[in-house]
């Protein structure tokens, strides 16, 4: 694993609970994924994002978001996680759908739930939520249960406690 040279450079590499991972800069992600695919990592297990907002860990990550690609080498069974730090002020990553086809829906889902833009994606629209949904629910500052209740005439009464018992 440590012999893997990645074009564009690797910021950091490590092992977490037995899983190998590397962190690459955002500019080098497509080159890194292409390189890894050529080296046998033909399968993209999933692509997602993590929101590190106000994380209580000792060394908080430099950027709020992190996009995570989990790759697998089908011949050797080896798995490698590629992480890309993404700043909140400029939450965009180049789209990997040309390299890995399944990234298409994963990127739509990540846009839908985290609001991270994937540049060059053919159809970056909401996939799980309704098209008119506001906000990106898997961000840590999106409240649980904060959505208005549809199809209820007196939903305001439902949501607030009665003024007198």
């Amino acid at each position: 694993m440590s012999s893997l040279e990645i074009p564009g450079g690797v910021l950091e590499r490590g092992v977490s609970a037995g899983d190998d991972w590397i962190r690459v800069p955002r500019e080098g992600i497509l080159a890194a994924l292409t390189h890894l695919q050529e080296r046998g990592y033909r399968s993209l297990c999933f692509l997602t994002a993590v929101d590190h907002l106000a994380t209580p860990t000792v060394q908080p990550p430099a950027e709020r978001f992190e996009v995570v690609y989990q790759l697998r080498n089908l011949a050797s069974g080896h798995q490698l996680r590629v992480r890309v730090p993404v700043p909140e002020s400029d939450a965009r990553v180049p789209s990997a759908h040309r390299i890995f086809k399944p990234a298409n829906w994963d990127e739509r889902e990540t846009w839908d739930l985290f609001g991270i833009v994937f540049d060059g994606h053919p159809e970056l629209t909401r996939i799980l939520l309704p098209d008119d949904w506001e906000g990106h629910p898997l961000r840590r500052d999106f409240p649980v249960g904060g959505e208005p209740v549809d199809f209820s005439e007196d939903h305001e009464l439902w949501q607030t406690a009665p003024s007198e018992a």
Partner: protein, 417 residues
Amino acid sequence: MTDATIEKRQAQSGVTITRGGELGEHVGLAGEILTVNFGPQHPSTHGVLRLVVDLDGETIRRVKPVIGYLHTGIEKQAEALRWQQVVVVTDRHDYLSPLSNNLAYALAVERLMGVQAPPRAEWLRVIMCELNRLSSHLVWLGTSSIELGAMSMFMYCLRERDQILGLNEEISGYRMHTSYIRPGGVMADATPRFWELLEGFVQAMPGHIDEYEDLLTKNPIFISRMQGIGMLSGDDAIALGATGPMLRGSGISWDLRRDRPYSAYDQFQFEVATSELGDCYGRYQLRIQEMRESVRIIRQAVDGMPGGPVNLDDRKMMPPPREELETSMEAVIHHFKLFTEGYSPPPGDVYQAVESARGEHGVYLVSDGTHKPRRVKFRSASFVNLQAVEQMALGSMIADLIAIIGTADTVLGDVDR
């Protein structure tokens, strides 16, 4: 067709008609492409799947799945729960294989915590996951056959599935959403009656699988609906990220149980069923074969079941036994800590995948060192496999789409999570 005719026909039929030739060379006899909505309330879509299908006559030119109708925000909910409480939501997205979902989550948490469940727990997990694979394949077989007109199959399959649900009930108290497999072990040891029922089931099941095969394998109607339909080459299957029966049905021998063994699977002998056919019939044969192998694994597990506890002896992670609470102050403190705060894995992340009935079901967990997960991602097999449906359906007849969706075996709760 003139614009006026198009408008009139659109108004009458309620379907969108585009002018012929707009989609390149795909121009049918009448020179027009029909766009129809297949679902979301169609009985053969296995849930609420909507497919926007472009038709040239009866030939499929484009399939665009529209999903999200069953999105329940399970990943968001999981972030608000303590580590041990998340097990309950893992049951509910892929409602046909709750035990595989439980297992993937339990193994991921155990890896984060750096612990391993005792051998007896791992073997019980294998038994339950294989029973679960059988019950999921039975639902698949029953519903897919009923869509192709084999009505009686549904009755036969659900008959055996009901026995499996009975086994679930016997061991965990629940028939479907068992939450039986938990971080650190399983809910409880199996009862003597469970072993009795399981023995009867394991002895009878191979005969039942023969029965299904008698009804379907050489049935000319079934064959003509399945053979050569929904072709998917091995390279396409890998490129599209397909896993499970979709990948093995295209001749790629890849099974996480054998190639990245988890739980106790490295201690069992079984064949990884593959089919070179790459069509719906191949995927059917493969699942039948997988059911036979599952029975074989259960047989081995019953015969070689190790003794010992079924839960970790770790008071920081597992609640103390009930009787200790009355005599030990320490047990009361542990109990209180565990059910108010819970436990906190060290910061880090982990990806654990298991071979569920539909393919690779993975759980990606991120811990920030607190008692609730920072991020829980379910990599569901159905979500990825559904993207391969277009590739399989292009050029087929609209009626074949039923067989194609059927053998892709997507569970919409799993797709939308």
